[in-house]
């Protein structure tokens, strides 16, 4: 009964989304006030229906209803309750439903926040969001219905893929999707502006907090996925340039460019068509990511079960949404020219450099990700592209960008000359270089050419970001949240650069065969293998090893890596054991049983690797702080609108 209710709720949601889209777009277009007013109730109704559907599916999971095909395929009676809930988004159909739920939630948020927007504009934004919802709901109902029944019902489920039975991976999709879906909001704002034929600084001010918040979520989502890969997959790797990882990274790069472009449009009314295009591009890349993961066109560890029929549907949806938006762009963007000027060393100029480099980086990742597809389609042979391509080409755009960042932070609008800030910049650079050399040759005794360069850039960025906030605090001046958030986010980037440089340069990896009692030394630590013992869990059993770690004889940690065999899917997973010591991550994993008690063991020492994810978190916090600035709040907006109309020109 519950699944049928859920199914019915989805159908109603589809209808409501359709109404939301229709009234939202055509109401303002034809001046029909009744239609425009019908949009917020449609939004609320759609959300309630989607939430109902999700609730029904969740109840089916928790209640072990194996007559539902999706539940039978992804759950099991022995599965802990926490994972029964997260199994909801463990496969294609359910993850789509999660996407739809988050989109509905964002739409409700926009609807509430739209109180301060002109009604017709707000209706357009919600209308475009309704179109996206409609498309996804139609796709779900037509090709990926999670409520299909099994007749006769399965005795027990096929269990959730064991590698997904992990807390980090359980929350990774909701957070990641919140980011992905959030870019739909920026897209909707862009389309609404194009439909209205008007894009000004006020529009940019409305769009900024939504975009920055979505960006912050996406940052966390990507970091969480990377963190999970590190401690779960057992190789100690945290980024593989896998197509699906790239599918989330490209929108992030473009989203970063968008956040910065919006700043310029907000402050100076410039880069309007750039900003529009970036907003369309960010969401297009999100959609493309959806396509790549579910259509089976690319080889990836992450792909959902491939189904070309679904691929065709998503492709058609992509063509309609993106093609429509790009057509609007070609039609409206030419009207958006502005005649403001700026110097080469001014902030606008540096942010333009920023945008170009970020888009180039995204385009490079795009080329590498789609190269196998392109090569195959154009009959150029089967191609495989991995880290040896992505790493150097990505750095090609990123190194100049990191070098320009400190300059950008200290640049001034319009007529700003960098020579004014020469002293500050050179002093911070000098300090950064000292730090970098100390890191490369003092703390760690070996390194490559790029090590001091990377460390210096990261340190320079951090120091440059600290100058202004510290100076204002010292002088007792107030610091707006927008500036504070910006500084925090940039410090995050600097930390990430230092962490990545250190990890890439100084990682130690050792694979050894050890008998019980035997050991090995690496990186100043001694690792002694104490043998394995059987272990058992709620739905698995296996062996657990014990490795005693000491440094110069003094005890550091006792690590217990495991190899688990899950009962239902018979899958063997490796659970690594990780310990943080003096900024180093010690990672130990069990390999194979070599007989007679001997095991192959992987030992990895990765300095500062946890800093990478901490840095990402700091970036996200910076974004959140910046979004909460008072100038984006309703009361201030009303004040400013009054001031603007009094003076006759924009006061921002």
């Amino acid at each position: 009964m519950l699944p049928e209710l859920g199914h019915f709720a989805l159908i109603l949601a589809l209808l409501l989304a359709g109404l939301q889209a229709f009234f939202g777009i055509f109401g303002p277009m034809f001046g029909r006030e009744r239609w425009t007013s019908a949009v917020p109730p449609a939004v609320a109704g759609q959300f309630v229906m989607v939430a109902t559907a999700v609730g029904c599916l969740a109840a089916s999971f928790i209640g072990d209803d194996f007559s539902v095909r999706y539940v039978a395929a992804n759950s099991n009676s022995a599965l802990p309750i926490f994972y029964r809930v997260s199994a909801l988004w463990g496969a294609h159909e359910g993850s789509l439903l999660l996407w739809i739920l988050l989109l509905a939630a964002w739409t409700v948020a926009v609807s509430i926040g739209a109180a301060r927007l002109p009604r017709r504009f707000a209706a357009r934004v919600l209308g475009v969001l309704g179109l996206v919802s409609f498309g996804f709901l139609l796709f779900t109902l037509a090709t990926s219905n999670p409520f299909l029944r099994l007749d006769p019902p399965a005795g027990d489920g096929a269990d959730l893929n064991p590698i997904l039975q992990d807390p980090a991976l359980a929350v990774h999709p909701p957070i990641l999707y919140t980011g992905y879906v959030g870019f739909a909001v920026a897209f909707a704002f862009a389309c609404a502006a194009m439909l209205e034929g008007r894009l000004d600084q006020e529009w940019a001010r409305w769009t900024r907090p939504w975009t920055t918040t979505a960006w912050a979520f996406l940052t966390c989502g990507i970091a969480l996925g990377s963190f999970w890969a590190y401690y779960e997959l057992g190789w100690g790797g945290f980024w593989f340039w896998d197509p699906v990882e790239n599918a989330s990274f490209m929108p992030w790069l473009v989203g970063t460019a968008l956040v910065h472009s919006l700043a310029v449009t907000d402050k100076r009314g410039l880069f309007k068509s750039w900003t529009l295009l970036l907003a369309i591009l960010a969401f297009s890349l999100s959609m493309l990511g959806t396509f790549l993961v579910r259509s089976g066109v690319l080889v990836s560890v992450h792909s959902f079960a491939a189904d070309p029929a679904r691929g065709i549907f998503i492709l058609a949806f992509l063509v309609l949404m993106i093609g429509g938006a790009l057509s609007l762009y070609a039609w409206r963007a030419p009207l958006l020219k502005s005649s403001a000027g700026f110097e080469l060393g001014a902030r606008e100029s540096l942010l333009l450099f920023n945008n170009v480099l970020l888009v180039t980086a995204a385009a490079t990742v795009f080329a590498g990700t789609l190269a196998p597809l392109v090569s195959d389609a154009l009959k150029l042979g089967t191609l495989s592209v991995g880290a040896p391509y992505f790493n150097p080409t990505f750095m090609l755009s990123m190194l100049p960008l990191m070098a320009l960042l400190p300059l950008g932070i200290h640049s001034s609008w319009k007529r700003g000359r960098l020579s004014d800030k020469q002293r500050t910049l050179l002093m911070t650079l000098a300090l950064a270089v000292v730090f970098a050399l100390g890191l490369a040759f003092g703390i760690y005794s070996h390194g490559q050419v790029l090590t001091p360069v990377g460390a210096a850039l990261g340190a320079w960025i951090i120091l440059a970001s600290l100058v202004d906030p510290l100076d204002r605090w010292r002088r007792g001046l107030s610091l707006s949240r927008a500036v504070l958030g910006m500084s925090i986010a940039h410090i995050g980037i600097g930390l990430a650069v230092i962490a990545l440089t250190t990890v890439q340069s100084f990682t130690l990896e050792r694979d050894v065969a050890l008998a019980p009692g035997a050991g090995t030394a690496a990186g100043g630590y001694e690792f002694r293998f104490e043998g394995v013992a059987p272990i058992e869990g709620p739905n698995y059993d296996g062996v657990g090893g014990t490795i005693v770690v000491t440094r110069g004889g003094a005890p550091v940690a006792v690590l217990k890596p495991q190899k688990r065999q899950y009962w239902v899917q018979h899958q063997l997973t490796t659970e690594t054991a990780i310990h943080m010591s003096r900024g180093n991550n010690l990672l130990v994993a069990l390999g194979d049983d070599l007989g007679a008690g001997r095991w192959s063991v992987r030992i990895q020492i990765r300095p500062l690797v946890s800093l990478i994810w901490l840095a990402a978190l700091i970036m996200a916090i910076g974004g959140a702080v910046a979004s909460s600035d008072r100038r984006y709040r309703p009361a201030r907006a009303v004040q400013e609108a009054a001031a603007a109309s009094a003076v006759g020109e924009q006061a921002t």
Binding site: S273, L277, I280, L281, F291, S295, G296, V297, L298, V299, A306, P308, G311, I312, L315, L318, V319, I322, G323, L326, S327, Y329, A330, A333, P334, L370, L373, V374, D376, A377, L378, G381, T382
Partner: protein, 179 residues
């Protein structure tokens, strides 16, 4: 050209490529073999029926044959076994087996139980011969001509359809010794 039309101009070919990608998607796991058109690798491996005898690639020269890589652990091999027996009965060309990473006793029992479609079976425990053939999964089947050149490769279970559509047309009819 109006620079605002540029994004659309980039989007259209991309869509075309993605559409082609969808059409090719089911075959993306099947890597084209670089061996097609090249000489078949030479090998000398023990015979499954009698370990003291060797199966040599040189002995196979001068006639068409199918080189089938299989193992008792492989589900797809079980699935294609009937087709292999059918090919044997057709008598057009012999099937030479490569028992890959398998246990000899189990392999003999399997052939006893299910029928032996092979003229002879070479045993590859270490997997080196398979690597020379570019084998990356089982079952795989190679069509080799009398000059010793690999003409066609089938990845996955050999089906009646593939046999009649792809392999038979490539082999000129010739009598098979022992038919």
């Amino acid at each position: 050209m109006n620079r605002f039309v540029l994004p659309m101009a980039v989007f259209v070919p991309l869509v075309v490529i993605l559409a082609i990608g969808i059409r090719h998607a089911p075959e993306k796991d099947i890597i084209a073999s670089p061996l097609v058109g090249k000489p078949a690798p030479s090998f000398s491996l023990p015979d499954l029926a009698d370990a003291s005898r060797a199966v040599r690639s040189t002995d196979l020269k001068g006639r068409w044959y199918l080189f089938n890589v299989w193992g008792t652990w492989c589900g797809g091999c079980r699935a294609e076994h009937d087709t292999l027996l059918e090919i044997q009965r057709a008598g057009v060309l012999p099937v030479v087996g490569l028992d890959w990473k398998d246990d000899d006793t189990e392999a003999r029992a399997w052939l006893q139980q299910l029928g032996n479609p092979y003229e002879v079976v070479a045993v590859d425990h270490a997997g080196r011969a398979a690597i020379d053939w570019g084998v990356y999964g089982a079952p795989e089947t190679f069509l080799v001509n009398p000059q010793g050149i690999v003409v066609y490769k089938v990845v996955g279970s050999l089906t009646h359809d593939v046999w009649t559509r792809e392999i038979l047309p490539r082999v000129p009819r010739q009598p098979f010794p022992g038919s």
